[in-house]
């Protein structure tokens, strides 16, 4: 008799999502649904009628973690539609910006997954915030890597979070010679740290997957050797950057893409009948709660050649570097393997950047309404944007973000794993469930606050 268990909200990733799992008597997942419960709607509608300059700025605000990937992909989709070729130095600046974002993201992801793992050779789980060695120096290294990447991103992109330097037709400004030297020095420092960090992480990840049992909230859970395996296929468009031309990159063809609706894909209404209060951070959902993934899921299911595919670091390594490890292990290892390559690539790009070169195209056409698309390999996978621009007005705009691809793929990958490890599989995808609004809501008994009102 299968039972239903729900983990909501899932933790240690971006945004709000939940896992609804149908498990058998041994606690093994028969059907897994991972769905976004963050509603974000209307970017397609909002973009229509705006200028191609505005739309990348709008796209950048959809998420607080990946503004860089969205800005670059949206800008390049506009450029693809109006058929504008940008100068080489502008492209180099974008490459540097994008790689800086990736390097920051990997460091952040390391912090998020570390609490799942053990200090090798011990039974102690890693707490990234502990002041004790060896974890302390790892945490410091992660912080330094984040700082380095953020600084490089700030120099090349103009601003640290929502890059303001990119524009349709290139970049607003090139950087100075001093800024180039600074980026170079930082990248060299980052390269050494990335080597150390990747080696440490790969050792920790491999040690974890060699274990027979792991501990989840005091429960002893058997760790299957096939954790997170699926046979859905992979999609990647570039080893590092992205593409907006089928000649350059035949692997993403918009014609082969279809989108299914969530109600055709997810499970229907069910009642939770398995509850585990020991599960970390507040236990799982109470028995008797009604769940309905079909109606609650906020994302469509993108299909490529008729099925969901995996995007992300492993997809990139499988496509471009003959990587062959599967499952959550393969995914986490692939991400770390990318780390040093990112810095090597970044150093090459900084070398190639001419600070005196022009960064804006000589001629920026107004567009004739043809469909343009651009993909950008965001840290968590392929981010594809499509646009039509006519007479300097956007007629159509659509975003296909990485985690949307991975929602369905990960749901498949959950099958056959113990339900307690569902979040471990999910975190392997480094999910970024789109961000929401932010507002502080104070309770009504805020007399104290009211006194501090500024008149």
């Amino acid at each position: 008799m299968s039972k239903v268990v729900e983990i909501s909200p899932t933790t240690r990733h971006e945004g709000h999502s939940k896992l609804v799992l149908k498990v058998n008597d041994a606690g093994i997942i028969e059907t897994g649904n991972w769905c976004s419960i963050t509603p974000v709607r209307g970017v397609e509608k909002l973009a229509v009628g705006k200028t191609p300059e505005q739309v990348p700025k709008i796209a950048s605000r959809v998420c607080g973690i990946c503004p860089i990937a969205h800005t670059i992909a949206a800008t390049e989709a506009m450029e693809a539609s109006i058929k504008c070729e940008i100068p080489k130095d502008a492209l180099m600046l974008r490459h540097i910006l994008q790689l800086a974002n990736r390097c920051h993201s990997i460091a952040l992801h390391d912090i998020l997954i570390l609490p799942d793992f053990y200090i090798p050779g011990t039974e102690t789980k890693i707490n990234p915030f502990t002041p004790e060695e060896p974890v302390r120096s790892v945490a410091k290294r992660i912080q330094r890597l984040r700082e380095i990447s953020q600084t490089i991103g700030q120099i090349s992109g103009g601003e640290a979070i929502h890059p303001s330097n990119t524009r349709v037709g290139g970049m607003y400004r090139n950087c100075s010679q001093q800024a180039k030297v600074k980026m170079y020095d930082l990248a060299k420092e980052g390269l050494t740290l990335a080597h150390q960090q990747a080696e440490f992480m790969i050792a920790v990840i491999r040690a974890y997957h060699k274990r027979d049992f792991v501990d989840v909230g005091g429960m002893k859970v058997a760790l299957p050797k096939t954790l997170g395996f699926h046979d859905q296929g992979y999609l990647a468009t570039h080893a590092f950057y992205g593409s907006s031309s089928l000649d350059e990159c035949p692997s993403w063809n918009p014609d082969r893409f279809k989108e299914a609706r969530p109600w055709d894909w997810y499970m229907g209404e069910m009642t939770v009948d398995l509850e585990e209060p020991r599960y970390p951070i507040g236990g799982t959902t109470k028995v008797g709660t009604k769940v309905n993934p079909q109606m609650e899921a906020c994302t469509g299911i993108p299909m490529y050649d008729g099925q969901p595919v995996e995007v992300g670091p492993r997809a990139r390594l499988v496509t471009y570097k003959s990587f062959d490890e599967k499952g959550t292990l393969g995914q986490n290892v692939a991400r770390e393997m990318e780390y040093q390559d990112c810095f090597y690539e970044m150093i090459d790009c900084i070398d190639a950047l001419n600070p005196n070169g022009k960064v804006v195209a000589d001629f920026i056409p107004d567009g004739d309404g043809s469909l343009g698309w651009a993909t950008n390999e965001a840290p968590r996978g392929c981010d594809a944007h499509m646009a039509r621009v006519k007479d300097w007005k956007v007629q159509y705009f659509s975003m296909l973000v990485p985690t949307t691809w991975n929602f369905a793929t990960c749901s498949k990958a959950l099958e056959g794993a113990p339900w307690q490890l569902a979040e471990v599989i999910m975190r392997g995808y480094d999910p970024c469930v789109s961000c929401a609004t932010h507002m502080i809501v104070l309770d009504e008994d805020n007399k104290l606050v009211a006194q501090k009102l500024i008149q």
């Binding site: 990733h13 990234p128 929502h162 502080i440 309770d443 805020n446």
Partner: protein
């Protein structure tokens, strides 16, 4: 170091109408000439993980957050809050590492001030561009309060700034702290 002694971060999402208040204040402040030890950042949605977890307490002394706050006042009213006033879960790192809040971690070493504005409308989950008039009108006062908090006194009102802007005859910003 990535962040200097004083950091002013505008939080919020311009896609949800008044939620764009923080970034709008920052945009306005980019026209000001500020001391070198002050950095203004359009944090957008990335504040908790790109700023609050990356501050170095040995360098940064003061953090000012500009955001919306629903405290039941007239739209456009602003208030000054401290970390202790915040309800649990405010500025929780969206990554929710261990459900700890980054501001709680840094508040003893860094002086954190939050300047909140009562919104007229937040359209979440539907996108809408543009800030309502009430909140728009709160921007000059907010900037005055920020300048007061960081101890910069130009004797400024927004009108004064605009006059000065006209005299300079250029909109080129001189307060940008970005490295170029």
């Amino acid at each position: 170091m990535l962040y200097p002694e004083i950091v002013i971060a505008g939080c919020g999402n311009p896609l949800f109408a008044d939620d764009g208040f923080g970034p709008a204040v920052i945009e306005e402040m980019q026209n000001l000439s500020l001391p070198d030890n002050v950095m203004i950042v359009d944090a957008g949605l990335g504040g908790p993980h790109f700023i609050f977890t990356l501050l170095d307490p040995e360098v940064t002394r003061k953090l000012i957050i500009v955001d919306l706050a629903d405290f039941g006042a007239e739209p456009g009213t602003i208030t000054k809050l401290h970390v202790e006033d915040l309800p649990p879960g405010a500025y929780r790192d969206a990554h929710s590492w261990d459900l700890a809040e980054p501001l709680q971690r840094i508040k003893d070493q860094i002086e954190v001030t939050i300047i909140g504005c009562q919104p007229a409308k937040v359209t979440f989950p539907e996108f809408e561009l543009g800030i309502s008039e009430e909140v728009q009108n709160a921007i000059p006062k907010t900037i005055r309060v920020i300048l007061e908090t960081i101890g910069v006194d130009y004797g400024t009102t927004r009108q004064y700034l605009q006059e000065e802007e006209r005299q300079r005859g250029t909109a080129e910003s001189c307060g940008s702290t970005e490295i170029r």
